[in-house]
């Protein structure tokens, strides 16, 4: 076994990330946060950082179908992955149901945390975990919103869960 010299490890890497269906190929520093990559390199600016230490949830995106915080992941770790943000879920019936209910129940005010909140709510619906008010409140407790007091959000997600029974497969298994 030979040692691995520091200089032999890359300080820049070429990566290819599929962002909302489009492959974005860039040479990046390993330290570039996924959220910065999405905003600055991929030009997908809907999702924002709110704390950069993994508490507020504003930067939540889907990586290979799973909701994660894009401030706690490096772009190089998403090399070869499929990343989706709210912009990449246009026309998705579950996301559309959420967007409609969010508007109806006034579940957003400034809208800055909303893209991350929608992604968390989306996953909650797909997993069938928006069972009741308690489960929605706990399921969304990783996303801070300072405007709404969460009341509209919780009602909107519950309403979307009710209306979405036709579109979300039963027992939370993801289709396709």
């Amino acid at each position: 076994m030979t040692g691995v010299e520091l200089q032999s490890l890359p300080d820049r890497m070429e990566i290819a990330v599929r962002v909302n269906g489009r492959t974005v190929r860039r040479v990046v520093e390993p330290r570039l946060l996924l959220g910065d990559f999405l905003r600055q390199e991929a030009g997908v600016s809907g999702t924002h950082f709110g704390c950069e230490h993994g508490v507020c949830g504003a930067c939540t995106v889907l990586v290979d179908g799973v909701a994660v915080r894009s401030c706690l992941m490096f772009a190089v770790q998403a090399d070869g992955c499929d990343v989706r943000t709210v912009e990449g879920l246009e026309g998705d019936p579950v996301m559309q149901a959420l967007q409609e209910r969010f508007r109806e129940y006034h579940a957003l005010q400034c809208g800055y945390c909303t893209p991350g909140m929608l992604i968390s709510a989306y996953e909650l619906l797909l997993r069938g975990e928006a069972r009741d008010e308690r489960s929605v409140r706990e399921g969304l407790s990783g996303n801070l919103c300072r405007c709404t007091g969460y009341s509209g959000i919780v009602k909107a997600v519950l309403a979307a869960a009710r209306s979405g029974q036709a579109v979300a497969p039963p027992n939370g298994e993801r289709g396709g």
Partner: protein, 833 residues
């Protein structure tokens, strides 16, 4: 569940639950926040070197290594700032020098010391870590009373003390009231330093044109534009050489982002020094340590009461901790509520003392409720103490002191003019909704079973639309006399019709999520007969191209009383012009025209009709068809102000706000006396904000405002150690409530339209932030009354509640013995496994 008031007839759009226009973009990731935009190309990025000390002299700054790093343009330090800028002018004349960057001394942890400009934020931070600063630590002081002590370490030697401002106001005769009182009830209350912490942090992008000595700055600053002259003065330019712009979307503020202005100046100076546009995105750690917050307050209070609990006189001594500098608009926090110091109560005699104290904490500024939560906490706790000391029910004491509806409009002793309201009705409705009497019964029953349930009331006057003159009471009448008086509350709005008949509204109300676009569109749609969804509302600010005033901006819940009025009057003015033109084109007297669904129709001959669109087309395309003397203009700008917003009088009376709403809240809590955890069982909130423009938006404001109040009541505090180190510098340590902690709220509206505003509307959005900390504290004190616990400080974290119980029990609380029915999940085990 939300209980809706029956809606009035007559309006088609106003007062309806119109879903927001803003949501169309925000729900799809298409918001336009400053970080999402590149208004100028090739901006460089700043990172700020900040003080790790609460109080220290700067011995030296070595930027050599940082400036030499690849990708780094350079470093701005205090030397540059002193060369290019003046200290900020202050609200009151005191000899302290406040720059956006420390010059020779740092006075709080996080105070900017140097600015690194580099090709991106990553490199800028690398270089910021390479700047080496040598400090000579000085003794810090963080506590209000310690800072007021004669031998306290001084923050600003020139001033000779740490007291930035102090005043005493006497209205009526407090001493006489005290002499004839049956009893004097006292309290000493502490309100924590809290911040509403918007999820979008401060954002600034500054550019400098050396040819014209002109600064252009994009930021998420939302006013008040009284701070524009403060910035321009610091930058040594006239106001028309400091162009301030904002993006269409701002990610929340609740007042906090008014404080971004010092960074506007700082980045403007960096842009000037390096000759490039400079962008700065504050990070969360910077935000928590050095953006802005409300003041922490110590309030000594006395109520002189008769045997029935009638308050004959009130004494308040308000001490506000404004942090390391008296940053404008401070000490305004002490005076924002000046006209409503006596709350919803009929109190004829008031003595008020105010003290603004500087300590080695971060400077303060606007934060939701601005002074109201502190005042309300003291006043409402005091009222409960009156009840407890006299053996009366807290609801009864309030009933006996409330201003009666027949007294409206009511002039308070300190000069406020309460424009409308039925406070007793709102209180009774609150008690009915929460089931006050039933809870009193259940409470006794539950106590017998070892459960501690409490019911707390919190009433608040919710002032809206601040009078520019209120801050001037910070100086005595004699000193004010020599200066230009300040008054008014002017807010402009423009409504324009384009050649195709399309309607555009331009606001300078700078919303950060409140839904101004929707509400303005509703008002215009109501007046001009269209659908709100078809109205375009522009909220971006540009001080070079938009009509604005020194009072423009978003603060003091001024949209409903002021902006909405300006929008209404502008739309109405435009409609009158259109009516005149329609009359001309149809050749009928204008009085004969009615306006329906965008069409002017002759009452006498309904066949004679002309659409608004057609009239608009004629004005734009064929102005020679207009009658003589009629200007070809389809744009109306109204600057709305109110005469009630007069300067303070000789006796320091000032109507500090143009409208006053009322909030009545009841909270039921259960306290787990073993852990100190407070659980909210019910929360009822009754609001009277005059005419509600859109119940969806109104309730959104109430839910949001309530949660900020609840955070201050139960969880949040920017805590500092005795060494001045911030202990809550991350979102892990500064615990904003999540969805799991947020209670549902039962909201109800009563509507006593304001006689002063054309729509009868008043502001709303800060009332619950004021009322609920008091209501929760009252509820917890009520729950723990059998244990002898008094509550005089916040937040009521489980730890603090446990401490209170422990202290009341003389060190051995009920905690030592297991409560029956503990937590609901415990069963007694019997005598075998």
């Amino acid at each position: 569940m939300t209980v809706e008031t029956p809606v009035r007839p007559a309006y088609r759009w106003i007062g309806q639950k119109v879903p927001r226009l803003e949501d169309r973009r925000l729900l799809h990731g298409k918001g336009r926040f400053l970080e999402d935009l590149e208004p100028v190309p090739r901006a460089w990025h700043a990172a700020i070197v900040r003080s790790p000390h609460a109080h220290a002299r700067i011995r030296s700054i070595d930027v050599t290594r940082a400036a030499g790093m690849p990708g780094v343009l350079g470093v701005l330090t205090g030397e540059d700032v002193v060369r290019m800028a003046d200290p900020f002018p202050l609200t009151v004349k005191i000899p302290i020098r406040y720059y956006p960057l420390a010059v020779d001394r740092v006075r709080f942890v996080g105070e900017p010391v140097a600015v690194v400009v580099a090709e991106n934020r990553y490199v800028a931070e690398d270089a910021a870590h390479a700047v080496s600063v040598e400090y000579e630590p000085l003794t810090p002081v963080v506590d209000i009373e310690a800072a007021m002590a004669a031998d306290a370490p001084l923050l600003h030697g020139e001033l000779g003390s740490n007291i930035a401002n102090s005043r005493r106001f006497d209205y009526g005769d407090y001493d006489a009231a005290r002499r004839r009182a049956h009893r004097v009830v006292r309290g000493r209350f502490r309100f924590p330093k809290v911040s509403s912490t918007p999820i979008e942090t401060y954002q600034v992008l500054a550019a400098y044109d050396s040819q014209q000595d002109e600064y252009t700055v994009w930021s998420n600053f939302h006013g008040p534009f009284t701070l524009h002259p403060v910035m321009a003065k610091a930058l040594r330019v006239p106001l028309n050489r400091l162009r301030l712009l904002t993006p269409p979307d701002i990610g929340g503020s609740y007042g906090i982002k008014a404080g971004v202005y010092t960074y506007i100046v700082l980045m403007a100076l960096a842009a000037r020094k390096f000759g490039v546009p400079v962008r700065w995105s504050e990070d969360r750690l910077e935000h928590l340590m050095a953006s802005s917050s409300g003041t922490d307050s110590l309030i000594e209070a006395e109520a002189a009461v008769d045997a029935d609990g009638r308050i004959l006189g009130l004494y308040l001594r308000r001490m506000d901790n404004v942090g390391a500098y008296l940053r404008p608009p401070e000490p305004a926090c002490l005076f924002r509520t000046h006209g409503n110091t006596t709350g919803p109560y009929d109190i004829a005699n008031l003595r008020l003392e105010t003290v603004a104290v500087m300590t080695n904490k971060a400077p303060t500024g606007l934060n939701r409720g601005y002074g109201g939560p502190q005042l309300c906490f003291a006043l409402e706790r005091l009222v409960d103490r009156v009840a407890r000391e006299l053996g009366l029910d807290p609801a009864d004491v309030r009933r006996r002191n409330l201003i009666q509806p027949h007294e409206m409009p009511y002039r308070t002793v300190s000069g406020g003019l309460y424009d409308s309201g039925d406070y007793p009705a709102a209180l009774e409705r609150t008690l009915e909704l929460v089931g006050y009497e039933q809870w009193r019964w259940r409470q006794r029953d539950l106590r017998d079973r070892g459960k501690y349930v409490g019911i707390g009331l919190g009433l608040a006057i919710e002032p809206s639309g601040s009078n520019m003159g209120y801050v001037t009471v910070a100086e005595p009448a004699g000193q004010r006399a020599g200066r230009l008086p300040k008054s008014g509350c002017t807010e402009p709005a423009t409504v324009a019709i384009d050649p195709g008949g399309g309607i555009t509204v331009r606001l300078t109300s700078l919303p950060q999520g409140q839904g101004h676009e929707t509400a303005a569109a509703q008002i215009v749609a109501e007046e001009l007969g269209c659908d709100p969804a078809d109205v375009t509302v522009v909220t971006q600010m540009d001080t070079f191209t938009r009509p604005w005033t020194v009072s423009s901006g978003s603060y003091s819940s001024r949209f409903a009383p002021l902006t909405a009025s300006a929008v209404l009057l502008a739309a109405r003015g435009l409609k009158e012009r259109l009516r005149r033109l329609a009359a001309h084109f149809l050749d009928v007297p204008a009085e004969r025209l009615i306006f329906e669904d965008g069409v002017f129709v002759d009452k006498a001959d309904p066949g004679r009709r002309i659409s608004l669109r057609r009239v608009a087309g004629a004005v734009h395309w064929n102005p020679t068809s207009l009658p003589p003397g009629e200007e070809p203009r389809l744009e109306e700008t109204v600057f709305f102000s109110m005469d009630e917003a007069a300067p303070p009088d000789e006796a320091d009376r000032v109507d500090s706000s143009v409208t006053y709403g009322f909030v009545s809240e009841a909270v039921v809590v259960e306290v787990d006396v073993e852990t100190g955890a407070v659980r909210i069982l019910d929360y009822v909130s009754v609001h009277d904000a005059g005419r509600v423009l859109n119940p969806l938006l109104a309730n959104g404001q109430i839910y949001g405002g309530a949660l900020h109040g609840l955070g201050a009541a139960l969880l949040e505090e920017l805590r500092y150690g005795p060494d001045g180190q911030l202990l809550t510098g991350t979102f892990v340590d500064y615990p904003c409530p999540t969805a799991a902690e947020a209670p549902d709220i039962r909201i109800e509206h009563l509507e006593s339209p304001s006689p002063l505003t054309p729509l009868g509307a008043k502001g709303l959005g800060e009332g619950s932030t004021m009322a609920v900390p008091a209501a929760i504290a009252n509820a917890v004190a009520d729950a723990l009354a059998p244990l002898g616990v008094e509550v005089d400080c916040l937040p009521l974290t489980p730890h603090r509640v446990w401490d209170l119980i422990h202290a009341a029990a003389g060190g051995d609380g009920p905690a030592g013995r297991p409560a029956a029915g503990d937590g609901g999940n415990e069963r007694r085990g019997g005598d075998a496994w």
